[in-house]
């Protein structure tokens, strides 16, 4: 049923009847499978993909890399949990990188607001020994969808025969 997840990850708008048809399963089986995925925490919700660049005064987003000293028992988890508890933090990842350990994306109204958040809230955490902040200027693609009008999005096929 990984094909179900594949379809849903591309488009959450389908009805269960449509999903059942596409997969050649009964509608009940699809409903049950979706419930099951939700229970197991595999399906965590569905958001609308928004191209914030087109929304006025929608603020700024930054990617923050954090160098962290791991704790003996819990590794990076404790620090990650503190970082993710802030509402303006959109996502947090643990990375296998030589430079940084945690990567977080943070939203704010202004660059100053984010800069302040990083210096006051993140840099000061016990185990954080360094941060690097990158501000996003343009989002080209998100959630598998192109945000910038690219040539590829237009129909280029000719109607010939």
């Amino acid at each position: 049923m990984n094909r179900l997840l594949d379809i849903l990850s591309r488009n959450a708008d389908f009805t269960t009847a449509q999903l059942a048809a596409m997969l050649g399963e009964s509608e009940d089986a699809v409903k049950k499978q979706i419930e099951d995925y939700k229970e197991k925490g595999i399906i965590k919700g569905s958001n609308t993909l928004i191209n914030w660049d087109k929304v006025e005064d929608s603020g700024v987003t930054a990617i923050i890399e954090l160098k962290v000293t791991p704790k003996p028992e819990t590794g990076f988890d404790d620090t990650a949990k503190i970082v993710m508890s802030y509402d303006n933090v959109e996502s947090v990842y643990l990375a296998a990188s030589s430079r940084y350990d945690l990567i977080a994306t943070v939203k704010g109204r202004t660059i100053q607001e984010i800069a302040e958040f990083v210096s006051k809230r993140l840099s000061t955490l016990d185990n954080v020994i360094g941060t690097a902040t990158s501000f996003i200027l343009t989002q080209y693609k998100g959630g598998g969808v192109c945000f910038v009008d690219s040539e590829e999005q237009e129909e280029q096929r000719s109607m010939i025969l």
């Binding site: 488009n11 596409m22 997969l23």
Partner: protein, 391 residues
């Protein structure tokens, strides 16, 4: 003033322009049309295949290829047909690389048909067989396949149309526009008639990689005794999403391939060189690309068939190609009117069944070679159209 029209070849003047064209012209003039009418993959050619084409250009391989195509490509085509469809061809004498499957169809008909020979063409079918036959001096004899038979050609329908003048049967399966496929047992019935009446077969297997369900496409050449009577035409366009590269091939008995090669040599010289390098890569490492695209088409096919049936546009389940051929009789309109009203009122372009033969009346061809999102939107509009037009 030169009367150009009187100077054009008379056979050609008598050929009607394709019925698909008219709808394309309407669609092209309108904005925001959602089309489900295009007959080519929406995928781009897999990147590793494109890369080989680019690499050949970088190395400066910009010359003609041998007339019948590069030996390596013919070797790979031979491996491929044996691997995927269980039929073996000698790359030296039984394979010709052409400019798309279309050139192979034209060559085959011209190489075989004499003035007055009859060519049997099952319809609904792709639009080229009839005009090519006429231009070759042959007489097209149409066999109308029926929805109740799943648009398959039956032995009885075939035998009824055979005369002493019959030279060639066109076997266009998996079928554009109906999506019909012929299973082994159906082909075996056809083979008995072919054997009995001593005729040849042009098996257009361009959609051979696109069949759905457990059973794969069976090549007519794989039916006992038929390889020696069959010219298989196929190509890279549909299987590997390579339409723009213009590359196809013909497989058949050496004397027929040799005659076709002679024509090809004078008219075309050789198929595009860059495309041939890319095609070698496709055949070597492209099996998983086919599988990926096939699975995606299958998901769309199931969605569209299910939704059409729910709306009352009954369609028999298409098992091949990337088209559904729903009956539009519920609307009370003829095919042309239905498609015309649909495009003007809801801006959805589909092709009337009559573009593929008179027996396509009451049906329309809908292509699902589009993204799920695109299909979803088109379905919403089609349903709206049906509701507004007294479903």
């Amino acid at each position: 003033m030169i009367e150009y029209n009187s100077l054009i070849n008379k056979k050609l003047s008598g050929i009607k322009p394709s019925g698909i064209r008219r709808f394309f012209d309407i669609a092209n003039e309108m904005d925001h049309v959602i089309s489900l009418s295009i007959g080519e993959p929406d995928f781009t050619t897999p990147w590793h295949v494109r890369q080989e084409g680019i690499e050949s250009l970088r190395r400066g391989h910009t010359w003609y290829s041998p007339n019948s195509g590069f030996a390596e490509l013919r070797g790979q085509i031979s491996n491929y047909y044996a691997r995927r469809f269980n039929v073996e061809y000698d790359p030296g004498h039984e394979i010709l690389v052409t400019v798309g499957g279309s050139e192979a169809i034209d060559l085959c008909i011209r190489a075989l048909v004499n003035e007055g020979d009859e060519v049997l063409i099952p319809q609904p079918a792709f639009v080229c067989y009839d005009p090519m036959t006429v231009m070759a001096g042959g007489t097209p004899v149409i066999i109308e396949t029926k929805a109740e038979n799943g648009f398959r050609l039956t032995a009885k329908e075939l035998e009824e149309k055979i005369t002493p003048k019959t030279k060639l049967l066109i076997l266009p399966f998996p079928n554009n526009p109906t999506g019909a496929v012929m299973r082994r047992e159906h082909l075996e019935e056809i083979a008995k008639v072919i054997e009995k009446h001593n005729i040849l077969v042009l098996s257009d297997e361009i959609y051979g990689e696109l069949t759905y369900g457990k059973e794969r496409h069976v090549s007519f050449a794989d039916i006992k005794g038929m390889k020696e009577r069959t010219i298989v035409v196929s190509g890279f366009s549909k299987a590997y999403a390579m339409t723009g590269w213009r590359l196809g091939y013909a497989l058949g008995p050496a004397p027929v391939i040799s005659a076709m090669t002679k024509l090809h040599q004078y008219a075309i010289m050789s198929a595009p060189t860059t495309a041939q390098y890319a095609a070698i890569e496709a055949l070597k490492h492209g099996d998983s690309d086919i599988e990926h695209m096939r699975e995606e088409y299958d998901i769309r096919r199931r969605l569209i068939v299910d939704e059409f049936c729910r709306m009352g546009l009954t369609c028999f389940e298409p098992e091949g190609a990337f088209y559904v051929f729903p009956s539009i009789k519920i609307s009370g309109m003829d095919s042309e009117t239905f498609c015309e009203k649909l495009i003007y009122s809801q801006k959805v372009a589909i092709v009337p069944g009559t573009a593929f033969g008179d027996c396509g009346e009451g049906f329309a061809r809908v292509s699902y070679s589009y993204s799920l999102k695109h299909i979803q939107e088109a379905l919403v509009r089609i349903e709206k159209f049906l509701n507004e037009n007294g479903k």
